[in-house]
Amino acid sequence: MEEALKSQAHAHAPAEGFLRKYVFSLDHKVIGKQYYGLALAAVFIGMVLSWLMRFHLVWPNAKIPGLEIIAKTGAPGGIITPEYYLSLLTMHGTLMVFFVLTNAPFAGFGNYFLPIQIGAEDMAFPRFNMMSFWTTFVAFVVLVTAFFIPDGPPISGWTAYAPLSAIGKDAGPGLGWGQNLWVISIAIFCIGQLLGSLNFIATTLDLRAKGMTLMRMPISTWAWFITSAIGLLAFAVLLPACLLLLLDRMAGTSFFIPSGLVVSDRLQNHAGGSPLLWQHLFWFFGHPEVYIAILPAVGIVSHVLTNSLRKPLLSAKVIIYSMMSIGFLSWMVWGHHMFVSGMNPFSSLLFSFPTLTITIPATIITLIWLGSLYGANIQITTASFFALGFISMFVSGGVSGFFLAQPSIDIYLHATYFVVGHFHMVMGVAAIFAIFSGTYFWFPKMTGRMMNETLGMLHFWITFIGTYCIFMPFHYLGLVGNVRRYASFVDDFMPALMPLHKFITIAALTTGAAQFIFFFNLVHSRFRGKQATANPWRGTSLEWSIPSPPPWNNFGGDHPVVYHDPHQYGVKGSTGDFVMQTSPEQILNE
C-alpha cells in the first residue's frame, strides 16, 4: 500500500517556479506550514519578552546586556524603564494572542489538515488562502517594526484602551507612531483572518468528499469550522474598531475621546467621544477571540485523545454540540471584562449569567474526556501526554474563571494577578499544550519523519511541571491583591510577596529554556528523524490514508469515499483494533 501511495505522490506534480512553489504557494499544506512557522517566530519573540518582564520584576536594576542596542530610549544602559516594561507587556500580549494563538492551532494546523480530513484536494479559494497568509505576515512585520522606531512600541496593553491609545504621544512614550503601527498591524491582521475564515467555511460546506457527512467529520475539523464562523464575525467587528481608533488618532475625530482632557499639560482638542465605546467594540471581538484561541485546541486534543485511547470518546456529537454552544454563548458575555468599567451595573449582572452558563458546555466536554479515559487503553506518547496535560490545564484555567464570572468577586480580583493567572492557564498553557500535542501527532504526516520521543518526553515533563510552577502562584498573588501591569512593585504589602515572584521568575526562565528542546527536536527530526509510515498512530481519519508527507494534491487525483465516522476504535478491523474512514469493511463488533 505504501508503494502505491508513493507512486501517486509523484504523478502529475506540476512544474512551478521557486517563488510559486515555496513562497507564494497556493497549496494549503505549504500555507499551513508557513502559518506555523510565523507562529514559531512570534512565540519565540513573545517568550523572550516575557523573560525580560519576569526578570525586571524581581531584579529591576539588573542590566540586560545588549538590550540598550535595540531599545536606546526604552532601556538605556540595559536597564528596563517603566515605559519599556509596558511596551514589552503590550507586545507580548499582542504577539501571543494574535500571532501565536490565532495562527498555530487554527490557521496553521487547520489550513494543513482541514481539506485533507474532509477529503478535498485543497481549500475552496487557494489564491485567497495565499493572500491571507501574506497579509498576516505583513501585519507581523508592521507590528515588529514598532520595536525599532525611536519612540518604541505602544504601552497601552494588547487591549489598547482609549483614551490612552487614542490621544497620541501626549499620553506617553510609544503612543505616537508606536501605537499607530500597532493599530495598522491589527487592522491588516483582521483582513488576513477574514480571508482565512471565509476559506475554512466555504471549504467545509462545499468540498467534502463523498460519504463525508458533517457528522462524519473529525472533531478537529468541526472545531476549525466553528472557530472560523466565530472569527469571521469577530474580526469583522475589530476592523471597524481599529479604523475608528485610527481616525481619532490621525484625523482628529472623537469617537472615543471626550472633551476637557488635560494630558501632559495640554488641553486636548476633542469632544463628545466615549471611552467605553472602545471597550464595548474591543471586547465584543475580544471575548469570541479567546474562544477562537481555545476551540481549535479542544478539537485537536479530542482528535488526539480519540486515537490515543483506542476507543471513541463517550460522545463526539455532544462535544460538537457543546463547542457550538460555547461559540454561541461567546457573543453574549463580553461585558464580563467590563464589570467595574463604569458601565451600567445592571448590565454587569446581565453579563454574568451567560458567562456562568458557559461553564456547562465546558464541563460537559471535560467530563466526556475524563469519562472516556475510564477503561481506555491509553497509548503513551508525547502527543497524548500533551493532550492529557491539556485536560489538566483546561480544568485549572476554567475553575479560576468561575471566580471572575461573578461581578461581586470581580470587584476584588479585577486587574490583579488572579486574572493574569486565569487567562495564562487557559490560553498561555492549555492552548499551547494543544499546539504541542498536534505537532507531535502530525509531524510524521507533514514531514514523513518521526519526532524524537525521548526529547519529547523531556520537553513535556519540564513544561508540564514548569507551567504549573509559573502560573498557579499567580492566583495566590491575586488573592492578596497584587495588581497587574505594574512595572515594579512599590506597594507597602508587596515585599512579602517577592519570594513568590522570584520563584515564578526562575520557573519561567527554566521552562522557557526547555522549549529549546522542542525547537531542536523539530529541526533535527525534520532532517534526521526516523522515517514515518503513512499511519504511525493507527489512526482512522483521512489524513492517515495518504502518504507521509502527502502528495501535492493530497489524494493523488482520486476521490476518496468515506464509509464511517472517525471514531471506529476498539473494534475488530482488518488492520487491527480500528477501522479507517475510507475502509469499506463493515464494523464487526461494537
Binding site: V262, L373, Y486
Partner: protein
C-alpha cells in the same frame, strides 16, 4: 510513564491546593460594611471551585495511572448510553452551582451598586490623573465648585482647575493629596478623570471602580475600622501606572474634624 503522570499530577493538585487550604495567601482584613458579603461569596466559590479542581485533577491522575499502556489485548470499556450521564450531571451540578452563585452573588453586588448613598453621606471627590490622585472636600458650604480643565495648573497646585475668583462655591473647597475619612460614616466618592482611564482600588475596603474620562461616576461605602490604607490605580494609564497611588486614612470623627480644619487652613 502513565503511572508517573498520575503521581506527579496528584502531587501538583495537592500542592496547588495547599496554600489555599492553609490560608497562606489571603485578602487583607475587611474594613467595610459590604465586604463580608464579597468575602463570603469568595469563600463559597473557593470551596466549590477548589473541590472541583482537586477532584477533577485526581480523577485524571487516577485514570492515566490505571489505564495507560495496558497489556496486549486488554479489553477497552465502553460506557453504555454515551454521554447522557455526563450531560445530565453537568446540567444539574453546574446548573445549580451557577444559578446559586449567580443569584446569591447579586446581593453583594447590589449592596455596592443598587443602593443610593444616604443623604448625609460625606462627599469627597477624587480626581485621577497621570500619575497621582487628588481629593477635594466641599468645605462648609457643602458644594463643589465647577471644574475648568483649561485652568489646571499643577505648578501652582491648582490640580482640579478651580476658579475661586469667579466661582463662589470653589472658595471653600479643600484640596488634598491624601484622602481622610471618618470611621463609621458613609462616604460618597465622586470620581473624575483628568486625562485617561484610571481606577480606584482599596483592597481592605473591597471596592474597585474605574475612572472614565467624560463620565461622572461615583461609589459609596462605609469604613468600619481606623487605619492607614493604600489606594491603588488598577487601570493601565501610562508609564507611571505602577507608582500611582495615594493613602486613605480612616480616622475617628474627632481626628477627622481636626484634620479637615488643618487642611482648610493650608488652602
Amino acid at each position: 510513564m502513565g503511572k508517573l503522570f498520575g503521581v506527579i499530577l496528584a502531587i501538583i493538585a495537592l500542592a496547588s491546593a495547599y496554600p489555599i487550604v492553609t490560608h497562606m495567601y489571603v485578602q487583607p482584613v475587611d474594613i467595610s460594611t459590604h465586604g463580608h458579603a464579597i468575602d463570603e461569596q469568595l469563600a463559597d466559590t473557593m470551596a466549590e471551585a477548589g473541590l472541583s479542581f482537586v477532584l477533577a485533577q485526581l480523577l485524571l491522575a487516577f485514570c492515566v495511572w490505571k489505564f495507560s499502556n495496558r497489556k496486549e489485548g486488554a479489553k477497552v470499556f465502553h460506557l453504555r448510553g454515551g454521554a447522557r450521564l455526563v450531560v445530565v450531571a453537568a446540567f444539574i451540578l453546574v446548573g445549580t452551582e451557577v444559578l446559586a452563585l449567580g443569584v446569591l452573588g447579586q446581593k453583594a453586588w447590589a449592596e455596592v451598586y443598587f443602593t443610593a448613598p444616604k443623604p448625609d453621606a460625606l462627599q469627597v471627590q477624587a480626581q485621577a490623573g497621570q500619575f497621582a490622585f487628588y481629593f477635594r472636600y466641599p468645605g462648609p458650604d457643602g458644594k463643589f465648585g465647577p471644574l475648568h480643565p483649561d485652568k489646571i495648573d499643577e505648578g501652582n497646585q491648582n490640580y482640579f482647575g478651580l476658579d475661586p475668583a469667579n466661582d463662589v462655591e470653589s472658595r471653600d473647597d479643600i484640596v488634598t493629596a491624601e484622602m481622610a475619612i471618618p470611621v463609621n460614616r458613609e462616604i460618597h466618592l465622586l470620581m473624575h478623570a483628568k486625562d485617561v482611564g484610571h481606577s480606584f482600588y482599596v483592597r481592605e475596603l473591597r471596592i474597585q471602580q474605574d475612572f472614565v474620562p467624560g463620565l461622572d461616576l461615583s461609589l459609596h461605602f462605609t469604613a468600619t475600622q481606623t487605619g492607614h490604607f493604600e489606594i491603588l490605580c488598577t487601570q493601565l494609564c501610562g508609564l507611571g501606572h505602577y507608582n500611582m497611588k495615594a493613602y486613605l486614612n480612616v480616622l475617628s470623627q474627632e481626628d477627622f474634624d481636626k484634620w479637615i480644619k488643618q487642611k482648610a487652613s493650608e488652602q
